[in-house]
């Protein structure tokens, strides 16, 4: 087919930045439109008109089915790669009239376990955030560690961490589960102390306990305790996950949906599987990336749980308004969406209503 006539080729690539009214969380929806009129949607944290122009050049003449091949080609615009990957797969699914998880060889499950990333500095704030999430069906929660005052933490800090986790479990019941999110803030020594203190608490895992500045540092934490460790939200390359696996420093891989899209995380999951290690993609964005993550979850064998930001009611209304009711949680699990592609119902009027005006 002559260039320019292929109905699957890109006609237009546009970005729509939005902002949640309560949390202030920003993300950008990307619309990839084909000559034939199909629209695929993806999501990235942010972009610029210059990046978009560059991406349009790189995508010219490419079919969305070449979503794996496109990845490397898009190296010059790393912030857009994940979003374009989602949009391409959305289109591939629409062409195939199949949900993305089916295009990718799934489903491997009927529903996907979900976890709310709750927020708050004090136990009271955390309880409020957790209660909101529990009401929408969550049974697992990612909890931020308290802010650290010193470089090395004393016993009071460790007791404080343990105390707030016990308060949360007491309130949510023994069948609730928790990830403790270290946010990369602790030293390896403190991370190991907290990991040891919480061994019998049975966290799902301790997330990003310390920075992955070098593998020896994280190996210290993983070799001293049996609390499972999660790493990966800041790792942009799959080789970083291979290093963590090889160093036996990680129990659950946390590739960021906003950095890796769908197909790169599938490749990272394939790597993890041979180490008997599962994947729980990190996600702090909007509903389009949630939809992408759920299709991913239903296409791989070693998915464990999908993190979704816990949001206030007004933010939840916005998320539903712009993309459809993607984040439906029941008894701790997210439903799969069997509609073709990513199964989104994007409302462009709502995108304008919630437009990020800077």
């Amino acid at each position: 087919m002559a260039a320019g006539n292929d109905p699957l080729e890109m006609k237009e690539l546009r970005a729509f930045a939005v902002r949640e009214p309560v949390s202030g969380r920003r993300y950008t929806l990307l619309r990839l439109e084909t000559r034939g009129g199909l629209k695929g949607w993806g999501e990235c944290p942010e972009t610029t008109e210059r990046e978009l122009a560059h991406a349009r050049q790189l995508l010219a003449g490419m079919q969305p089915t070449a979503y794996e091949i496109t990845w490397r080609k898009l190296s010059p615009v790393p912030r857009l790669r994940a979003a374009i990957n989602m949009a391409q797969l959305d289109i591939v699914g629409q062409v195939a009239k199949a949900p993305v998880y089916q295009v990718l060889g799934g489903p491997t499950r009927t529903k996907a376990r979900a976890m709310a990333a709750i927020t708050g500095l004090t136990p009271t704030e955390l309880l409020t955030s957790m209660d909101t999430a529990r009401k929408t069906g969550y049974a697992a929660f990612s909890v931020p560690i308290p802010p650290t005052e010193w470089r090395n933490q004393g016993q009071a800090y460790i007791f404080n961490v343990r105390g707030r986790m016990e308060i949360l479990r007491k309130n949510a019941g023994p069948d609730s589960d928790f990830v403790l999110d270290g946010g990369g803030q602790l030293t390896p020594g403190d991370a190991s102390s907290i990991s040891a203190e919480l061994e019998r608490f049975h966290l799902l895992w301790l997330d990003e306990p310390c920075a992955v500045s070098n593998l020896g540092a994280v190996r210290k934490v993983s070799s001293e305790n049996v609390t499972p460790l999660g790493f990966g939200r800041w790792l942009g390359q799959s080789g970083g996950f291979q290093d963590l696996l090889r160093e036996e420093a990680v129990d659950i891989l946390r590739p960021n949906v906003a950095l890796h899209g769908i197909s790169q995380i599938r490749r990272i999951a394939a790597l993890g599987e041979s180490y008997y290690v599962a994947v729980a993609p990190y996600h702090d964005g909007g509903p389009v990336a949630t939809a992408a993550a759920l299709h991913l979850a239903a296409s791989i064998p070693n998915f464990f749980i999908q993190q979704i930001p816990a949001v206030a009611d007004a933010d939840k209304l916005m998320r539903t308004a712009i993309a459809g009711d993607i984040e439906r949680i029941k008894d701790g699990f997210a439903e799969l969406n069997p509609a073709p592609g990513l199964g989104l119902q994007i409302n462009e009027k709502a995108l304008d209503k919630f437009r990020d005006r800077g």
Binding site: P107, T108, R109, T110, K111, A112, R113, A140, R169, P174, D175, S176, D177, E199, R200, F201, H202, L204, W205, S223, N225, V226, T227, P228, E248, D251, I252, S274, Y275, Y276, V277, A278, A280, P301, N302, F303, F304, I305, F333
Partner: protein, 434 residues
Amino acid sequence: MHRRHFLGGMAGGLAVAPSKAAVDCGCAQILAQAPAPGVLDRVGTKVRVTKMKVFGVSLTPDSDRPYVFVKLETNQGVVGWGEATLEGKAAAVMACVNDFSEFIVGADPMQVEHHWQSMYVHSFYRAGPVMGSAISGIDQALWDIRGKILGMPVYKLLGGPSDPAGVRGYYHARTSNPEQLQALRQVAKLQGITAIKSGIPGYYEWIETNAKITRAVKAMQMLRENLGPEIDIGIDFHAKTSPSVAAILVKEVEPLNLMFIEEPCPPENVKAMARIARRSTTPIATGERLIASYSCRELIEMGVVDILQCDINHVGGITALWKVGAMAEPSGISMAPHACEGPIGGLATIHVDAATPNFLVQEICSGIQPEDKENIWAEWLGFPAMRMVNGRFPLPEKPGLGFELQEEALAKYPFGGTKPMARVFHTDGSVAEW
């Protein structure tokens, strides 16, 4: 004859020069020099295997683990029996046994090591459970013949016994009910049983919840509480757990002083299991799914295991199980062979146990009360093959593996075909290990 088969199959059995097509692999030179089975005839005996028969035996028509028995007949009238049972893959292993008939029929059955090497090495692809089980069946039958011709039970040929009273064994608990466990403790004491094995409840995901981890720990604590401190307790994780989950469990049950935790994670990945073992004092046992001694090297060398559990029906028979024991001993690793198939492999493994200095305990997949299958075994063999007396499996005293078996006895239990093993799924429908 052998060479003709390789080179002249299409020419009505006549020897022909290798065609150009046949030498394209670059191995024609090797094939031309391929030794016939009788290559060691000059230093061998006049005994020859004259026939090989394979029996699929389903105790119930829908059994997912029909026994696969191998019978070798010889020109001396002596016959040998072996077991090649491979759970869930019966027809495949029967076909594989038959694939080896050219290796065995016409061969001197006394040269068991030579034939083991030939079956394993000349199969090129090496290992795998189907081939490992097929070799196991043939190997056991060769040992049975050897013992009968040399007039000794196999354990004596192997340098045993370590204890004339037999080899120590364990039964499965078959209950998780506290009262029944207490009753089991009493019966075990009366019968002199010193070890019991059980499992952990449910199926486990890659990462586990507080509820599931707590339940598993409580189940193990409950076993110790009700069985008491005198009985050694093994707990089989059956590779249901990931390394991340198993690491938590084996550390948390350290105060129970278990005899072992078995298969804390699947077996393909030795470093993953090492990561569990490194962070706990609970002894780790594994090996029932491993084929040939080669597959045990990393487990031994990396200090992963305390106990190896290779199965005589899969690892490569008597020859291979003995080698695993030999290579484990210098590292202080004990042997506790798996046995969950039929009575021939069960008896064969007792012979190896009795001659193994680093032997710990022998499994039988049965409860302290004899089960239906054992009544059938007794009907076949004329004695209760795998029942302990004073906590030990008695040693078979007749030459060879120590039993007589008539083909007609098996006819009541015709092969019902291969049936899949259990298929279990998590709450979200994804595939679970059992």
